[in-house]
Symmetry: C2
Subunit: 198 residues, 2 copies
DNA sequence: GGATAATACTGCCAATGGCAGTAAAAACGT
DNA sequence: ACGTTTTTACTGCCATTGGCAGTATTATCC
């Protein structure tokens, strides 16, 4: 009995189920789309792709651009079966890692200005992400968009990204506004914490 | 020059800046609050706390309950300085890991039913999280709530958690509704992807 | 024609998670 | 009062992952 594949392995199988890719291209796809909700480093992709070949879920074809080699991976029938079965399994709960929120949570140990800077930066990041998403959406408008059969699924996923980033920037702006009435970081003055949670 | 502390180390310093805790208690706090945006396993907390002592950011006091030992950690002046300086640094962008979104993204490889199940489970999880948060909010109402001086910051952080989970369940329910008009997973019928992204 | 970016890959180590295992005290049910 | 479950407390071991440096070749831009 072979060990079940990791989510990362299955995610790569997902990409390979669309078309064959070189490792570099796989890493680019992770960067540009998959990585929104399953971020993995390029370094990891190189190792993972090799493992998929070892376990028979993909095949590797060595090619070359001049004297520079490259490896192109293609999903096997076994890989497709594994992926389809994986879709039946239940998903681990989403996991969020937000350094900015940690700084907010321990803002007590610093100043009100530090808190506001953290919040402003976070809001700016989220707005920038949304700008990038809008550029991406525009490219899907092109008549020669190569993944037309994925447009509906992509739209659902991009909608998530838009909502997610909108939620963060809205929250950060709201939080900044709340601090307006605070005297300092440890004294919220007459601010009503309870009404913030209704 | 000592190595800069990791975010995890600084997060523990943040907890210790509130009061001394045993490792077990630190792990519980991570489970109940910090872990919402900086999830770390209990296993890791045990190692990290020791490292804080080695680097002089905390001290350890060995106590005992009967014959069962326990280690209580306390932040040092150096620890407080480090934490306060850390609050000035800029934060890494939030990182989201959502297995459910990966399954959505590669739903093409499966069936419409699989997609809907994934979405339903995700929405249910988020709603359950919100229920837990509401219980937590109720405890902060108690007159003997031990962290009164943290109420305003806690409220801001909990507001984030509520918004975050609300966003996810809203999106999942919206996505499920979108699939109503699809013929099957590869054929969205006359569904207009573009109007989903406005 | 030279600088910069994109493509292609590996080695090494620190950070982290997951799981099993051990053990004592506390809480709970009956 | 006695047995079961839960809570508290901790360690060992290994797989997963990230971060960074290093090495090359080809493509692009000015």
């Amino acid at each position: 009995m072979a060990k079940p594949l990791t989510t990362t392995s299955n995610a790569l199988l997902g990409l390979l189920s669309i078309q064959p890719w070189s490792t570099y291209e796989l890493a680019k796809q992770v960067d540009r789309s998959l990585g929104w909700f399953w971020p993995r480093t390029e370094r990891k992709i190189y190792d993972e792709a090799k493992k998929l070949v070892e376990s028979g879920h993909a095949t590797a074809k060595l090619q070359a651009t001049g004297s520079r080699p490259r490896t192109v991976y293609k999903i096997t029938a076994k890989g497709r079966r594994t992926l389809q079965a994986w879709l039946d399994e239940s998903s681990a709960p989403p996991k969020l890692e937000a350094e900015a929120l940690v700084r907010v949570f321990f803002a007590n140990a610093g100043t009100l200005d530090q808190l506001r800077t953290t919040l402003d930066d976070l809001a700016a990041q989220s707005r920038a992400n949304m700008d990038e998403l809008r550029v991406l959406i525009a490219t899907a408008d092109d008549a020669d968009y190569p993944f037309a059969e994925r447009r509906h699924i992509n739209a659902i996923a991009i909608r998530f990204q838009l909502d997610y980033n909108q939620m963060i920037s809205d929250w950060a702006e709201w939080a900044t506004a709340q601090t307006d009435s605070w005297n300092d970081i440890t004294d919220p003055n007459s601010w009503d914490w309870h009404s913030a949670l209704t």
